[in-house]
Symmetry: C2
Subunit: 239 residues, 2 copies
């Protein structure tokens, strides 16, 4: 692909920006404007980076999946199921590799990464185990764009091979963990004091690719407040 055809794609993407809210309105009005806007911003930024890098997917946003999949959330909540068929392709939908074996959109992990990418102010994450690089990178990206990201994990799981906790700590992210033999077994998240996520899904490759798992994401400030309260009490207890 040359710079001219990339320019055409970029122009098309820009033209979509004012049109999408109307399209979305027709889809039933249950999409969070907040999430759409962030998804669009992320897509535009990605296209700009691709253009600056001379085309191709080499400079796609880490872990972002790169797709403009503005997904309608069911009223009140969205449910994601795992396993996914493959890990997301880092080139997103713009991937031009022949027979690429990575996923190019619409997987549960890509949707979860979009949610993490939509955080504006705070991300409070309680997770038993975190070894999935794509998810860790989405936390790092949020941290780097000024979102206050806090992580609580389990002391035993942190000590296992592949845990990303040390890497997140080293990047300056505040991390705390339980101090006893019982498990800090939660896998919940509170996003911008508005969205609550919970389910069985640990943030691991096995969780993404092998196991039967679920995550429910609720646009429910009342429920988010209950999870936030629990987060604060654990955060204080594990200081």
């Amino acid at each position: 692909m040359n710079l001219v055809s990339l320019g055409v794609k970029l122009a098309l993407a820009w033209r979509l920006v004012p049109v999408l809210p109307a399209l979305v309105g027709k889809m039933g009005g249950c999409i969070s404007t907040f999430l759409e806007t962030e998804t669009l911003r992320s897509r535009v930024a990605q296209l700009e980076r691709q253009l600056a890098a001379g085309g191709g997917g080499g400079a796609a946003a880490p872990g972002g999946g790169g797709s403009v999949s503005v997904v309608a959330a069911p009223a009140g909540g969205e449910v994601l199921f795992f396993p996914d068929p493959a890990m997301p392709c880092r080139n997103g939908k713009g991937c031009r590799r022949n027979n690429c074996t990575y996923a190019h959109g619409d997987t549960s992990l890509i949707r979860l990464l979009q949610w993490l990418g939509a955080a504006k102010q705070t991300l409070d994450v309680c997770v038993f185990s975190i070894t999935c690089d794509e998810l860790s990178e989405a936390l790092l990206a949020a941290h780097n764009r000024g979102v206050r990201v806090r992580i609580i994990s389990d002391n035993d799981q942190m000590a296992t091979k592949g845990s990303d906790i040390e890497r997140l700590k080293a990047a300056g992210m505040p991390v705390r963990w339980d101090k006893d033999a019982a498990h800090m077994h939660h896998k919940f998240m509170v996003l911008d004091s508005r969205f609550a996520m919970t389910g069985s899904f640990n943030w691991t490759r096995a969780g993404v690719l092998e196991n039967q798992e679920n995550v429910v994401i609720l646009d429910a400030p009342g429920i988010a407040a209950k999870y936030a309260e629990k987060f604060e009490s654990l955060w204080a207890a594990y200081a």
Copy 2:
């Protein structure tokens, strides 16, 4: 306690029946009438059994906790956190033991048992591990009162010591399980096609008494439908 004082208690419980809806209305109107009614029915049945057994707690409903705690659910959902301070006392709030070390109401497990006790038609449960006798007994009680209870579990966990799956199967409850090395790691439930429950909580004693765990219970038929669809697809896959 003699039969006279038990009779007084029973009469008091009966007198509460017509008054409770008004009380509940004042509490904000967000309680499921469905759940209240079942809780009350369960309490009346328990008192009747206690009376028939000559008083005391020996014949209390298994796993029911025995309390008339009509708990207000927050609009749209309720969140339970574990660990609990103790397992529920089988005598419920009527326990008259000195220094009883069991819980007598208002624990998360007691609330979860109340939800199971409220099922009228169907209970579809996907649970990685089930070793908690109180929860298994609540499933058996539902099965015995004509609720269609179906269980999906994980093959590896079923083979571990303390698993209640064989006992549930032996009682005639339909049970299926995954057939591969990956985990059937869900811990979700769909109740009467209306309520969906999910979270980190496995149905084990460690889940109740030791670990940090959460369960969200949603009065959300749209979300329940998504979990029900997943349940049916796993049920077919594991036939």
